[in-house]
């Protein structure tokens, strides 16, 4: 999520209304006010609306929503006469380039702050940490066009931003903080992307670092924007979002020529949408005129075309409009969610519990009848608890997560009993007897099924109690079972039984082995049992 700082004075000037009105209504266009300070507010916007990641963009949207200025904002662009060439060798490295000239910025303004933080937010939201899109901002007057975007040998030297000495590009990846942060994006290429001017001065080594030469200072008047990446559309939106935000701040935008094309144009895209489809989706009855008006409130150009269609001009900065329904959401926002008629659908349907949950509820009933208390352990655990402390072999089909958060959460549980013993450890200081059970999911070989387990601890807990309790629960669940001597090392020899259903072992009960009690730091004997709920009649084949 992007949290954007909105300085009140700047925001009020741009929106042309007071802060109270703005802050009150701002959540209604899709945001959360994180905090309000004396001179600014921090507001969180959703990642699909990078056009709102600057005070200029927010003001533009709020002017529309508050009815101060509606319809499509237009941004005139004239050619700068500047051109870029793109080296074909970049095709497999970082092929896409976007650029623009931004003139007439006053740098003591909030706008400079705004463009810097917008650049960072875009790197995060659109640029996927600079891999998809990276943005460079340069003092235009320190370099001379035409510019070349080239694939350069890695030993090419230049002075990177914040340094005074020349370094090779390889050294930058190794030594410069930004180089280290983003090295992984380019490291594996034989040649590195580089932007140079007529005299071979380095502007930027995208997506890593700019050159020191083009550093933006308080005296900078004109900006050259470079945007490189791997995705044409994303690069285009990044350029459009920055240019239109700067235009809102009072700058003029000029296009550059890249591969014979003038860019950016900042021109809107067009969509023709159905009024009926929108009405049906939202559950309100709209006319072409009312829908167009709502869209204009959201800063779209919109004109009715006949009774059922609206021709929409989508501003060039709206990266989120991929589909007609994206426009319908804006119609709903402009209409107001709280004004929508809300009633449940009228179709008759019948509720139906899942058989697995029905059985689980019956198992819970049997356990609680025996005086057992339910616990709900985590499903992520580790091999120590599941196997080593239980003196058991690792269960076949146990799943190891690839990047565990800690050594305590490395596998998905394959049994429940070890986790119940952990609970007894946790509750050693509590009054005995303690009888605990759990019913829940275990995972083997990517497949999930339910098991049930119970433990009872007190000085007289024994085999007979385990047998009797297991029998009671199994009986309540109509499981026809037989018992044979078990070899489960978690239990005491001669005091353990396997639960057999249709020739298959589906569970075990008995007295927990003292070495297991020691491993779990338990002081009293434990009568325990666990069984697979797939043995219960009616458990569905999943």
């Amino acid at each position: 999520m992007a949290v954007i700082t909105l300085p009140y004075k700047y925001l009020e000037r741009l929106t042309r209304t007071d802060r109270k009105t703005i802050l009150e209504k701002i959540p209604l266009i899709g945001s959360d006010v994180e905090r309000t300070e004396e001179d600014h507010a921090d507001v969180e916007f959703f990642p699909d609306r990078p056009d709102l990641f600057s005070p200029e963009g927010v003001a533009r949207a709020m002017r529309g929503y508050l009815g101060i200025e509606t319809g499509l904002p237009t941004y005139p662009v004239k050619p700068s006469g500047i051109s870029f060439t793109v080296d074909p060798k970049l095709a497999s490295i970082r092929p896409v380039l976007g650029a623009a000239v931004i003139r007439g910025i006053k740098f003591d303004d909030e706008s400079i702050q705004s463009i810097m933080s917008l650049q960072e937010s875009l790197h995060w939201a659109v640029g996927r940490g600079r891999s998809k899109v990276a943005i460079g901002i340069h003092d235009m007057d320190t370099v001379k066009p035409p510019f070349r975007y080239i694939a350069s040998p890695r030993n090419r030297k230049f002075v990177p931003l914040d340094y005074t000495e020349e370094m090779t590009m390889d050294e930058i990846l190794e030594k410069h903080p930004k180089g280290r942060d983003y090295a992984k994006i380019v490291r594996d290429f034989a040649l590195f992307p580089l932007i140079v001017d007529r005299d071979d001065h380095v502007l930027s080594f995208p997506p890593i670092i700019n050159g020191e030469r083009t550093r933006v200072t308080i005296d900078t008047k004109n900006i050259l924007l470079d945007t490189t990446g791997t995705d044409k559309r994303a690069v285009g939106f990044a350029v459009n979002i920055i240019c239109t935000a700067m235009a809102e701040a009072g700058a003029t935008i000029e296009s550059v020529e890249i591969g014979g094309m003038q860019t950016p144009t900042l021109a809107p895209a067009e969509r023709v949408v159905s009024v009926k489809e929108c009405s049906r989706l939202l559950g309100v009855s709209l006319t072409a005129a009312s829908m167009a008006e709502l869209l204009r409130k959201m800063r779209f150009g919109a004109e009715p075309e006949g009774a059922d269609t609206v021709k929409v001009q989508v501003p060039c900065y709206r990266a989120d409009i991929m589909h007609d329904w994206d426009l319908f959401e804006d119609v709903a926002i402009a209409y107001g969610y709280d004004r929508l008629e809300s009633h449940p659908p009228r179709t008759f349907t019948v509720g139906k519990a899942h058989p697995v949950q029905v059985n689980a509820a019956l198992a819970r009933e049997a356990f609680t009848g025996l005086g057992y208390l339910e616990v709900m352990p985590f499903t992520l655990t580790n091999e120590d608890v599941l196997y080593r402390q239980m003196r058991r072999e690792e269960t076949r089909g146990v799943l190891h997560v690839m990047h565990p958060i800690s050594i305590e959460n490395t596998v998905v549980r394959t049994e429940l009993l070890p986790l119940l013993l952990e609970f007894l450890t946790l509750n050693r200081h509590r009054e005995l007897p303690q009888r605990l059970f759990t019913v829940g999911d275990v995972v083997l070989d990517c497949r999930t099924h339910q098991q049930a387990a119970g433990v009872s601890t007190h000085p007289d807990a024994d085999f007979s109690e385990a047998y009797a309790s297991a029998d009671a629960v199994l009986h309540e669940l109509s499981v026809d079972y037989t018992v044979k001597e078990s070899a489960d090392p978690a239990f005491i020899d001669g005091r353990r039984g396997d639960i057999i259903v249709a020739g298959k072992t589906v569970g075990v009960f008995g007295e927990i082995h003292p070495a297991v009690l020691n491993a779990f730091d338990l002081e009293h004997s434990v009568a325990a049992f666990e069984f697979d709920l797939r043995a219960v009649p009616g458990y569905p084949a999943l």
Partner: protein, 490 residues
């Protein structure tokens, strides 16, 4: 100390034993516990116990008398019989006694040292003589009749001949109230604690003197077996949804990325799909038939008005398995298999996010999700369903605001008002994008909504730490009542 019987209720009235004690004291007035024990044919300890109980009721008073006494050590016992070693030697020394003779005496080692220390003998050459008037009478007297005030006694204690010990004696006397009670007459019939089968059948219960219990004292607590308070909240939500006509879903925790992300139109380079947010597994599952439609939707928007995400879409990425990050992976598969309207389904299940665990974040938590697919269902219907669900949960004020989820459009967040806390975000919802439904051949709109169950549980159970839901204190489980005193959903 209270007399505990059965579940441990203290008797409200006098027990049989207390009455017997009072009856004896009526004539004795005041007596030692051992004496009373003799009269009552009980141990002195029992008598003291009964006396204390009667004292609590004001009928007797118990006096605790601590006596300091002296006792002989094993050594002291011998000396009391034979005299102190120095006395024995003194008796042995006659005029002309040689030191060598004296050394043969068994008391020499201790006795001679004492004599020298006390200056009662002189050694001149090989001869030992008594000083004039030498006597150990005072020491002997301290041995026979020790007294705390006598320095000689203290010395004998120091020498390990005498030892000091305390004895506690109890004297029990009857109070005027007690006397008044005995004057009224005591019922000394045998008391019945547990009613026996024999008494019930024979009819002797009619004359039995059934012991009374003290109703003001709770006995040892009994704890029922019960389901977890969190499970109870889940059960409540399930019940509401079943009542609202939803069918329940249940399914695998392990999902391939295809159903967890791709089928939900989440682009393959979406941050939520990164290793640091999702638990990946080494396992893979082959893609289902018809996956190409999903692929083409991602690349170009398929046959819809969508542009798609563009970029690249890799089969390997879609085949990889993860621990499901939401139960939407179940909903979408259910829809793919049930394309005929209406479909109303929900699931409550554990979902996984690779989060650092703290008091408000867990790496696994329960999510509840519902979907409604039908001809002509609307975004307004979605708000209606949510309002109904939250109202039934006890939240009377519900409001909605715009939100963003990658697979729904329009999207919303629902907030409920809780007295004393304010507006709280309770869940997200939206209409499945056409990019999600079209590749699966679903032609009706699908309303979908989800909420974090643990958030409600935390508020309702007053927990400060979410982990306690899963690593519960048995005392907390025992003390949390099954019936919640509800107040506006919390």
């Amino acid at each position: 100390m209270h007399v505990q019987t059965g579940y441990g209720c203290k008797m409200a009235e006098l027990t049989q034993n207390e009455k017997r004690l009072l009856a004896v004291l009526e004539t004795e007035k005041k007596a030692d516990a051992p004496h009373l024990a003799g009269l009552l044919e009980a141990s002195p300890e029992a008598v003291v116990q009964w006396a204390h109980l009667a004292q609590d009721k004001g009928f007797v008073s118990v006096e605790r008398i601590v006596l300091k006494e002296f006792a002989y050590t094993d050594e002291g016992i011998r000396y009391a019989k034979n005299g102190l070693p120095e006395t024995q030697l003194l008796r042995f020394i006659l005029p002309g006694t040689q030191l060598a003779d004296l050394q043969k005496h068994e008391a020499f080692r201790i006795g001679f040292g004492q004599l020298r220390k006390k200056g009662l003998v002189k050694v001149e050459g090989a001869a030992v003589t008594k000083i004039h008037g030498a006597s150990t009478d005072a020491d002997e007297s301290a041995l026979k009749n020790p007294s705390a005030a006598d320095p000689k006694t203290k010395e004998l204690i120091k020498r390990g001949i005498l030892q000091e010990c305390e004895t506690v004696r109890y004297a029990v006397s009857i109070t005027p109230e007690g006397l008044a009670l005995t004057k009224k007459g005591l019922d000394l019939r045998e008391e019945t604690g547990t009613l026996t089968r024999d008494q019930i059948l024979s009819g002797s219960w009619k004359t039995a003197n059934l012991r009374h219990y003290d109703v003001s004292k709770l006995p040892k607590k009994a704890y029922p077996g019960k389901i977890h308070p969190y499970e109870r909240i889940i059960a409540e939500m399930r019940e509401i949804l079943l009542e609202m006509g939803f069918e329940e879903l249940y399914g695998d925790i392990v999902q391939q990325c295809f159903w967890n992300f791709d089928a939900l139109f989440q682009p393959q380079d979406h941050p939520a799909r990164e290793m640091q947010d999702t638990f990946y597994l080494r396992e893979t599952i082959p893609l289902p038939p018809g996956y190409e439609k999903v692929k083409s939707m991602h690349l170009s928007g398929g046959d819809t008005s969508s542009t798609g995400w563009g970029g690249v879409w890799k089969e390997e990425k879609a085949e990889q398995c993860v621990l499901r990050t939401h139960t939407t992976s179940l909903s979408i598969q259910h829809l793919a298999q049930n394309r005929k309207p209406p479909v109303k389904a929900f699931a409550v299940g554990r979902v996984y996010r690779r989060e650092t665990i703290d008091t408000t974040h867990l790496a696994e938590f329960e999510q509840l999700e519902g979907i409604v697919m039908d001809e002509d269902v609307t975004f307004g219907n979605l708000l209606g369903i949510l309002r109904e669900f939250y109202n039934r949960m006890g939240f009377t004020s519900v409001r909605f605001k715009p939100s963003y989820y990658p697979y729904t459009e329009p999207s919303l967040d629902a907030e409920v008002y809780i007295e004393g806390i304010g507006w709280i975000e309770m869940g997200g919802a939206g209409v499945f994008r056409e990019e999600v439904t079209a590749p699966l051949g679903i032609t009706c709109p699908v309303l979908a909504w989800g909420l974090g169950v643990s958030r409600i549980a935390m508020l309702r159970l007053g927990l400060k730490d979410l982990r306690l839901l899963h690593k519960s204190d048995v005392a907390f489980l025992r003390e949390t009542p099954s019936l919640r005193k509800s107040k506006g959903g919390i």
